[in-house]
């Protein structure tokens, strides 16, 4: 029988990774198209290698040497902070208080920045700007995925779950990269804002659940309570969106 929480875990990590991969892809495309692909790919690959080492070394070491309750407290606290940050931003975007995340706009800004940089690179040599931008972009976007993968992987103290979380992230990144390679332009059609709303909900739920378990809170019904928590947080999110949308409309209403 498939474990419900494992399925939820896979979906959450895959969705979070897909969102971050879309953002990293925009930076890679802008750098590759403006400055050339070789240095851009080198920067991105080095960043991916660094992220894989962090997951492998930090994840395994933490499982082996840190007690499960302590892991759950740290992991739950981090996930709850991340989840609430994602959720707050998603609610602000849905209600109009914050501009929606626009990959086209970000792409244009990156291209403008990269075009002004002096190329001055002889053929066959590394373009340090393209390398740095690509490395930094992938590392920073990937760091959040790494934290999520490690957190989800460690929550039950087994390396199997770390493997599942890493696999979910890899699948999502591979899918987004394949789409990006085919389309060869920023993935503006990806419903990033809705995905962030969903991921924010899931991270909040898992964070609260594991943080509670870590300090000794007895959740009724065990793992099934995750679904009840998800329903509560989701309904509350919908309520907040509806309320703050009205607030925004009343503030922007043109009075005669």
């Amino acid at each position: 029988m498939i474990d419900q929480s494992a399925v939820l875990l896979f979906i959450t990590v895959a969705l979070a990774s897909a969102v971050e991969a879309t953002e990293a892809l925009t930076i890679i495309l802008a750098s590759g198209i403006t400055r050339g692909w070789r240095s851009t790919f080198e920067g991105a690959l080095l960043a991916l290698a660094c992220l894989a080492v962090i997951v492998g070394v930090a994840g395994t070491a933490l499982i082996l040497y840190v007690p499960l309750y302590a892991l759950r407290i740290v992991v739950g606290t981090l996930l709850l902070i991340f989840g609430l940050q994602w959720l707050t931003k998603a609610i602000l975007r849905q209600t109009g208080f914050k501009a929606p995340h626009d990959e086209r706009d970000i792409y244009d800004k990156e291209v403008a920045t990269l075009s002004t940089g002096k190329k001055g690179i002889l053929q066959g040599q590394r373009d340090s700007l393209a390398f740095a931008i690509s490395f930094k972009g992938v590392l920073l976007e990937g760091m959040e995925v790494v934290m999520i993968v490690i957190s989800f992987g460690l929550a039950n103290g087994s390396q199997d779950q770390l493997g599942t979380a890493a696999l979910a992230a890899l699948v999502a990144v591979a899918v987004m990269t394949a789409i990006g390679a085919v389309v060869a332009k920023p993935l503006t059609k990806v419903p990033e804002n809705y995905m962030k709303l969903g991921v924010g909900n899931l991270l909040t739920v898992f964070g609260l659940f594991w943080m509670g378990e870590g300090v000794g809170v007895q959740w009724p019904l065990g793992d099934v309570f995750l679904l009840i928590l998800l329903a509560i947080i989701f309904l509350a999110t919908l309520g907040l969106i509806a309320y703050f949308k009205r607030v925004h409309e009343s503030q922007t209403e043109v009075k005669p």
Binding site: L80, L92, G216
Partner: protein
Amino acid sequence: MPSNKTLNAVWKGVKSFFTFWKDFLVGDSPVLALGVIVILCVAYLLRGSAVLAPISTIILVLVLITFAVWQKTRARCPKPTINTNKEAKTRA
């Protein structure tokens, strides 16, 4: 003895390391990070109660997210303009 230049470089590195993690974990919403720590403490204090602990932590999370959104919407809403005498005269 390491030179001043080396010490400065080390200090700069340490500073950027902590700045990175502060930005990464706290971001632009310190209230969320603080709120989560408060929820953690409340959950720890009430862990013995099978009813009170789950209910209070859930309620606190809902309060925290509502407060964080409300705070951000207040920061983003335009301030009302004061109709000073000078402005009134200009319009007239």
